[in-house]
Amino acid sequence: MLSNMGNPYRMEELDSPIDDLEKYVNKLHPSLVMINPLLIPKLVTLPRDPESDFNPVYVGLIANTTSTRIKSKFDSLLYLNDNKHELFKTMEKVIQQLGATQPESDNTTLSERELSILKLVATGNTNNEIAERLFISTHTVMTHRKNITRKLGIKTVSGLTVYAILNQHINMEEVQGSEQGFN
């Protein structure tokens, strides 16, 4: 069905019974997880991490007999007795939802704020130090850092330092003067 809809995808099938769904989700970072709740008798919660960018969309494969309590755990439901047209309609909505969770990729220039945070990161300041210095919460610093990484395609502090020097946002002396050094 997914291939009929023309979306590129990669699929893993897990054998039931699934003891440790969370482990699989953390390892594989799927964007979409389809589950027949009948096969997981002890299904209590679906693993979701509020801190992570990688939460999957959970789709339940639902029989008429499935309880509302189980149904409410899923983001979307496919009814086993739905016809093909209805199934497609549901999946289209799910795929739209997936698209909405993807970060926008067109915006790649750093904002003023991001630039000042980049400089502080690159010269060896921790998130807490940056938060104090700019009078913002550590959480906000982390959000900015995520956006910086997404825009530049650079994940590590030392990578950001190299970027900042190459683009003359900071100079070599500032880095060597900081405690962090180059690692």
Binding site: E12, D15, I154, T156, G159
Partner: protein, 243 residues
């Protein structure tokens, strides 16, 4: 399937074959025959080749039949390949680039320092596995293989768990990822385009190999060890209840 066809299908598998001490010149010999020649477990060979060939391949079968020592032997050979061959090779190319007159001194230093710090991190990570994780797994296996193992021995090894060692390869991976983007996107272009291509090609290849290495650890080694730990607990409980 003939071994030669496997290489035609995916030549990236060459270093993997080398780790099994399989060398070129297969003639018309099949995969099965080559494995037999080298005294290799065919299922094991196929699982490794499949995880390498297709990153989404999820090994679920056969696992119980593999010895952890077999796996560790393979993983150690991949470590040796990184440290003795691949990393020095990339390092050599990077030093070659830094002799390029068209690059500014500061840019050369940045590239070289960044690569050195990556090399340092990777080496530290590998040493930790070689000195702490693998010896634990091998010892666990040898104790379980010994039907006369004492309660003390079982108890002593039972104090450890693979999950304590299980740490993500995130940092090492992230640095390599950054190295690619620094070269692709941010390093001012040098006259030596050909050499930069070779470096990038090597880095992509190393990344793919490292991802596979991590995949094998997470999806094959860890489940095998978890299973051994379960057996250990069962044996210990049985011995203690009999005592």
């Amino acid at each position: 399937m003939k071994m030669a066809e496997v290489i035609h299908l995916n030549h990236h598998l060459l270093p993997v074959l080398n780790r099994f001490d399989i060398h070129l010149g297969f003639g018309e010999r099949s995969v099965e025959m080559v494995c037999k020649d080298h005294d290799l477990n065919l299922d094991f060979f196929l699982e490794i080749v499949n995880t390498f060939h297709d990153a989404s391949y999820f090994p679920l079968g056969h696992l119980q039949s593999f010895k952890a020592s077999m796996l560790i032997d393979y993983l150690q050979k991949t470590h040796a390949y990184y440290l003795q061959f691949k990393i020095p090779e990339i390092g050599q190319f990077i030093r070659q680039i830094t002799r390029d007159e068209s690059l500014q001194a500061i840019h050369k230093k940045l590239l070289l320092d960044f690569f050195d710090s990556y090399q340092h991190e990777l080496t530290t990570h590998i040493n930790k596995e070689e000195q702490r994780v693998y010896p634990y797994v091998l010892k666990l296996e040898s104790i379980l293989d010994n039907p006369d193992a004492t309660v003390e021995e079982l108890h002593e090894i039972g104090k450890y768990s693979i999950n304590e060692y299980e740490e993500d390869h995130d940092d090492v991976e992230a640095k390599l990822f950054d190295l690619k983007n620094i070269i692709i996107k941010y390093l001012p272009s040098s006259k030596n385009i050909r050499l930069l291509n070779v470096i990038l090609h090597d880095v992509f290849e190393l990344e793919r190999d490292l991802n596979n290495h991590g995949h094998i650890e997470d999806l094959i080694l860890v489940p095998i060890v978890e299973n051994m730990e379960k057996t250990l607990r069962e044996r210990l409980n049985k011995l203690l209840s009999n005592a």
